[in-house]
C-alpha cells in the first residue's frame, strides 16, 4: 500500500476503476492514482490469465496495461489521470481480440 507524502487528491479528478471511484492528485498518472488507492492488480495476462500490476513505472515494461474509455492496451503509467475516465482492468483474453 502506498501513501501520499506530497500532493493532495483533487475533487476535480475522479475516475472509475471497474466501477470504483478513484480520487487522483494533480500530476497523477492512472497508475499512480490507482496504486495510491490501494489497487495493485491492473490486468490479467493473455497467456495464462494471471494477475499483473505496474512494474517499471517508466513506460518500458507494459505490465500496467488497462482499458481506458473503451480502448485497451493503454499504459497506465504514461497516461495522465483525467476526470470521469472509465478505467477497467484489462482481461487477458479480451486483449488479443480487441480492436
Amino acid at each position: 500500500m502506498l501513501r501520499r507524502i506530497a500532493g493532495r487528491i483533487s475533487p476535480d479528478i475522479v475516475f472509475e476503476f471497474d466501477g470504483r471511484p478513484i480520487h487522483a492528485a494533480p500530476g497523477d498518472t492512472v497508475a499512480s492514482a490507482l496504486l495510491a488507492a490501494g489497487e495493485t492488480i491492473f490486468r490479467s495476462t493473455p497467456s495464462s490469465g494471471k494477475p499483473r500490476g505496474p512494474f517499471c513505472m517508466m513506460g518500458v515494461c507494459f505490465e500496467c496495461l488497462v482499458e481506458i474509455d473503451g480502448v485497451t492496451d493503454r499504459q497506465a503509467c504514461l497516461t495522465p489521470a483525467r476526470d470521469k475516465m472509465q478505467v477497467r482492468k484489462q482481461r487477458g483474453f479480451d486483449a488479443t481480440a480487441s480492436s
Binding site: 502506498l2 506530497a6 495510491a36 492488480i41 494471471k50 505496474p54 517499471c56 517508466m58 513506460g59
Partner: protein
C-alpha cells in the same frame, strides 16, 4: 515532413544538454520525449518538486533544476508525451502523440534514451506488488508516493539510495536483501581509483549505507535462492544465507540488479554493438564523441553505457559540440576538456561494476522461473529449445514468442542472451541479441492511419510548461 538540424530522443541530462548546446549555436534542435515534463528518470518531475521533496531526494536530484530551467529557456522545439516508434538510417523518424503519428527528418540524430532496469528473473517476480527499485523511486519523485514495509532485493547503489531517501521521508524499508556474494567486495577493492570524483561517489555511498544502518533497517548480505511468494500478489520474500532459510513478509518488493542501456533504437538501426563483460550488457559501439557505426547518429548518456547523470550531461554536450564542429569545420577546444572531465568522472565505474556484478542466479535462472514476462516463457522452456538445436535468441523468439509481447524484449532480451550463452557454453557476444524492428512501441492502426504532418508547437518549449 519538418526538417531539423538535429533531432534528439530523450529529455534526460544527455538529451537536454545536447539540445541546449545545439540551439545556442543557432541551429534548429528538436527534442522528443515520452514523459510529460523534461528531466528523464533521474530528474523526473524536478520542476514540481518543492523544498521538502528536494530535501528527501537530496542534492544530486536538486541539481537537475538548473539544467531543466536552462533547457526550457533554450530555443529547442520540445515535444513531450511523444513516443518514437521508428527511426530510419536516413535519419527520418516517426513518433506518435495523442493518437496521431508524425514524421520528421534531421541532419544528425542524438539518441539519449537512457537506461532501463536490468531484467531480474527470479521466482515470483511477476506478482503484483513486485516492482523495480527504480519504479518506487519514480513514484516518490513524480507523485510523492511512498510504500511502507518494503523489502528491497538485489544489488546496486540505487537500493541504498532509495532506502536512504525512504528513511528521510519517514517510511523505513523493512529490510534490504543484498544478493551479491561477499567475494565481490574483495574483487572490487583493487579497482578503486582515488581521485576527487571517485572519492566523492564513495563518500556518498558510505553515508547512504550508514544512514540505512543507523535507522535500524535489517540488512541481509549474500542472499541466495531469492523467491517472492504469493498467490495473486506478493506476500513474502524468502532466501537463504549460508544454509539458513529466511522468510520476510512483504506486500511490496522492490527488485534491482543495476541498470543497462536501453538499446532499442540503436538495435533497430543495426548499429554495431559490443558485449561489455564488466557491465554485463551490450553497448552500442561509438567513437569517443558518441558517433555510432551509422554516420551522423550519436549516442549519449546511459544509453551508451552506464555512467550516471553527470557523465550523461557531458556526453550530451560532447555529441552536440562534435556535430557543430563537423557542420562548421571549426575545431572546438571544449571537446577535449569534456573528454578529460568524463574520464575522471567515470573512474569509479570499474569498482562499482565489479562490486555490483549481477549475481549468477539472475543470469542463469531456475527452470520454472519466467524469463519473458509478456509471453510467460520460463528459463526451462528456453533451455529446452536450445537443447533441441535452436541456435540463439532470434530463433528462440520465433519458436517460443519470447520478446514478442508488448515490451518487445526490453525485460527479457538480456536475460535470454545470458541464458543461451551459459547453456551453449558460448559468450553473450557470439550468441547475440534480438533483432529489433519497428514499431518500437505497440501502435494502434488508427495511430498509423492518422499519420499527420509534422507537428510544430506554436511557441517552442514554453507553452509546454506545466502549471
Amino acid at each position: 515532413m519538418t526538417h531539423y538540424d538535429v533531432a534528439i530522443v530523450g529529455a534526460g541530462p544527455a538529451g537536454m544538454s545536447s539540445a541546449i548546446e545545439i540551439s545556442q549555436a543557432g541551429f534548429t534542435a528538436l527534442l522528443l520525449d515520452d514523459q510529460p515534463a523534461p528531466g528523464g528518470q533521474i530528474y523526473r518531475s524536478i520542476e514540481n518538486a518543492h523544498t521538502d521533496r528536494l530535501d528527501i531526494l537530496g542534492p544530486d536530484y536538486a541539481e537537475g533544476k538548473r539544467l531543466v530551467a536552462e533547457f526550457r529557456s533554450s530555443s529547442t522545439t520540445y515535444i513531450p508525451n511523444a513516443t518514437v516508434w521508428n527511426v530510419s538510417r536516413d535519419l527520418t523518424l516517426a513518433y506518435t502523440r495523442e493518437g496521431v503519428s508524425h514524421g520528421i527528418s534531421a541532419d544528425a540524430l542524438i539518441v539519449a534514451s537512457g537506461a532501463i532496469e536490468r531484467p531480474t528473473p527470479m521466482p515470483g517476480w511477476t506478482l503484483p506488488g513486485v516492482m523495480t527499485v527504480g519504479a518506487l523511486q519514480i513514484l516518490l519523485k513524480a507523485h510523492g508516493l511512498l510504500a511502507d514495509a518494503v523489502v528491497l532485493v538485489g544489488s546496486g547503489p540505487l537500493i541504498w539510495l532509495l532506502a536512504a531517501q525512504m528513511i528521510k521521508a519517514g517510511a523505513k524499508p523493512s529490510a534490504i536483501v543484498e544478493t551479491l556474494p561477499l567475494s565481490h567486495y574483495f574483487k572490487a577493492l583493487p579497482k578503486l581509483r582515488f581521485n576527487r570524483p571517485a572519492f566523492s561517489y564513495l563518500k556518498k555511498g558510505l553515508l547512504m549505507m550508514r544512514s540505512v544502518k543507523a535507522a535500524g533497517v535489517p540488512v541481509f548480505l549474500g542472499a541466495q535462492g531469492v523467491a517472492i511468494e504469493g498467490s495473486s500478489r506478493a506476500e513474502a520474500v524468502s532466501f537463504e544465507i549460508r544454509g539458513r532459510m529466511h522468510r520476510l513478509p512483504a506486500e511490496t518488493v522492490a527488485l534491482h540488479q543495476g541498470i543497462v542501456p536501453n538499446q532499442q533504437i540503436t538495435r533497430l538501426l543495426h548499429c554495431d554493438h559490443r558485449w561489455s563483460e564488466s557491465q554485463r550488457s551490450f553497448l552500442p559501439v561509438s567513437d569517443c564523441f558518441g558517433e555510432t557505426s551509422v554516420a551522423n547518429l550519436y549516442i549519449a548518456g546511459d544509453g551508451a553505457g552506464i555512467g550516471g547523470a553527470k557523465v550523461a550531461a557531458m556526453q550530451g554536450r560532447l555529441a552536440a559540440l562534435r556535430i557543430l564542429e563537423k557542420a562548421s569545420a571549426v575545431q572546438n577546444t571544449a571537446t577535449s576538456e569534456l573528454l578529460a572531465e568524463i574520464e575522471k568522472e567515470i573512474s569509479i565505474r570499474p569498482f562499482l561494476e565489479e562490486l555490483y556484478l549481477p549475481s549468477a542466479e539472475i543470469r542463469d535462472p531456475k527452470e520454472n522461473t519466467i524469463v519473458c514476462r509478456c509471453e510467460e516463457i520460463t528459463a526451462g522452456e528456453v533451455r529446452a529449445s536450445l537443447a533441441s538445436g535452436v541456435p540463439g535468441p532470434n530463433q528462440i523468439k520465433s519458436l517460443l514468442r519470447t520478446g514478442m509481447g508488448p515490451c518487445q524484449g526490453r525485460f527479457c532480451g538480456l536475460a535470454l542472451s545470458e541464458i543461451a550463452a551459459q547453456y551453449l557454453g558460448k559468450t553473450p557476444a557470439s550468441v547475440g541479441y534480438y533483432r529489433i524492428r519497428a514499431p518500437l512501441k505497440p501502435l494502434r492502426l488508427t495511430e498509423l492511419a492518422n499519420m499527420g504532418e509534422a507537428e510544430v508547437p506554436q511557441a517552442p518549449v514554453k507553452q509546454e510548461l506545466q502549471k
